[in-house]
């Protein structure tokens, strides 16, 4: 794996954080923060009925989670399921024997800089246990 630059960490991210609605200056720009911490993105669809797509996303999360990758979820406080379709996604993950990823909720209106720092600290602190890293990340 010496030629490979993958970061082994990724985040489930609501559409509203990747594509903030116009005028949503109260939210930190999550993509550069994720990028700066070496995280990849698994984008959730916008609100709506996207069951088959959520199942596909759950398949991907299962594959990653079972092979040494760290997966977290970044949600939006005050939106249904954090914008993560959590009510539908969580059972899909459990069905695939995936422990639910740790969730971090961004609080719109709590201060963009403070929320950006809080998100960065969460991302920096998380990874799978060292034994898991040693097993898979060779």
């Amino acid at each position: 794996m010496s030629l490979d630059a993958r970061g082994w960490r990724m985040a489930l991210v609501p559409d509203a954080l990747i594509n903030p609605p116009a005028g949503s200056a109260a939210l930190p720009d999550a993509l550069p923060i994720l990028q700066a911490h070496g995280y990849g993105v698994l984008q959730l669809p916008p609100s709506g009925n996207y069951g088959p797509l959520l199942a596909v996303i759950a398949d991907q999360v299962a594959e990653y989670s079972h092979h040494g990758y760290a997966v977290v979820a970044i949600g939006l406080h005050g939106t249904a399921g954090g914008g993560l379709h959590w009510r539908r996604l969580a059972p899909l993950l459990r069905h695939r024997e995936v422990a639910l990823p740790p969730r971090h909720l961004i609080r719109p209106g709590a201060g963009v800089d403070a929320e950006a720092q809080r998100l960065g600290a969460f991302l920096a602190a998380y990874d799978v246990p060292v034994e898991e890293q040693r097993r898979w990340r060779r």
Binding site: R6, L42, Y64, H67
Partner: protein
């Protein structure tokens, strides 16, 4: 009524390099030059699923077009296409301007080019660079486009980020992408052989 948006459908690994085959990741996570080029031009991002990851797993071998060109893999790609198509259809029906950014050289997500070597198979001991680049779609893009066409949707303007072309040239790939994005919108779609 919502304003017309510009939306870029991007290959999964352009937002998540962890999806790449072993030794294929050039970035830790997000492919920042692609994201910057798109966002600076006002594009919203829509990530496509990764067909290879969900089919062959994180620890899959490198492969070429011919190895993935099987009924089972095409069925899998069609399942993914049916899962994402309603979202794409929603964008198109409300008049959003869509572009598709794939991964040139990929057996699955290639847009202008895919990798080919008809005699690959068996023990994976082939020397480096022992494959060809052909001007054609990858299998996932073929199936996605077929699904969209089956729904009566127009062809998408499409190009590929040249990550899987053998030797990756980031500056060249970025210039190529920016040229594509800055071209005036044309009717019709750029076929692989025309590039």
């Amino acid at each position: 009524m919502e304003p017309r948006r510009k939306v870029a459908l991007v290959a999964s690994c352009l937002l998540n390099q962890n999806a790449k085959v072993c030794q294929g990741a050039h970035y830790p996570g997000v492919v920042s030059p692609v994201v910057e080029a798109l966002r600076s031009r006002g594009y919203a991002l829509q990530q496509l699923p990764c067909p290879e990851l969900a089919f062959a797993g994180t620890r899959r071998w490198w492969a070429v077009y011919e190895q993935y060109d099987t009924p089972a893999y095409r069925d899998h790609c069609r399942r993914l296409a049916r899962a994402i198509a309603p979202l794409i259809e929603q964008y198109l029906r409300r008049g959003d301007e869509l572009v598709l950014i794939g991964l040139d050289g990929s057996p699955s997500t290639g847009v202008r080019f895919t990798s080919s070597q008809p005699d690959w198979g068996g023990r994976p001991d082939r020397p480096q660079d022992d494959w060809k680049i052909l001007p054609r779609r990858g299998i996932w893009i073929e199936e996605l486009e077929a699904e969209l066409a089956g729904r009566g949707l127009p062809p998408l303007r499409a190009t590929g980020w040249g990550l899987d072309m053998g030797r990756f040239d980031e500056a060249g790939a970025r210039a190529d992408l920016e040229q594509f994005l800055d071209e005036p919108e044309r009717s019709g779609v750029e076929g692989p052989a025309a590039t």
